[in-house]
Amino acid sequence: MADQIVYIALLIIALSIGISMFRFVKGPSIPDRVVAFDTAGIISISVIVVLAHSFGRLIYVDVALVYGLLSFIGVLVAARYLDRGL
């Protein structure tokens, strides 16, 4: 029973990544796309952690940690480029 609920939850999370990618495609301005990138990144962290649960391996949580820090740096660099240049 619990496994089915986790499965459904993962399906909904994948759907929300798809919806945020819709905003990435549509735009219209570049900050919109940066926000969509940020949202997709943060939702992906949860996907990775839930996958770590279903495969039962702790090492996958490390991927989520690395991902969280580096997607933050990507957003920071993009915003800095838009703001006044690196």
Binding site: I8, I12, S16, S46, L65, G68, L69, F72, A79, D83
Partner: protein, 106 residues
Amino acid sequence: MEMTGAILLLLASIVFLVSALGLVRMPDVYNRIQTSTKATTLGTILAMAAVAFLHPDWTPKLALVVLFILLTNPISSHVVARAAYFKRVKLSDRTVEDQLKDKLEG
């Protein structure tokens, strides 16, 4: 124990779904940042709590993920909002007042 974790995870997924919907439905960048940041922060906290219920021995590492999210998420949304404002991305028509513009011009 397992059912608690699974239900928390379902709640987290609904929060994520609403944040993605907000990203599509809101009229301008600033409101999109509002919905996406807040909802993804709570969603991540709920998802980590859910996995902590499912695997109690992983709790310290999941707490670290939550700590990083709480530190980085407001800063990235702040930075994007600032960049959008100084790139002169238009506020939506429904905006009531803009005191930052008065300050920069006046």
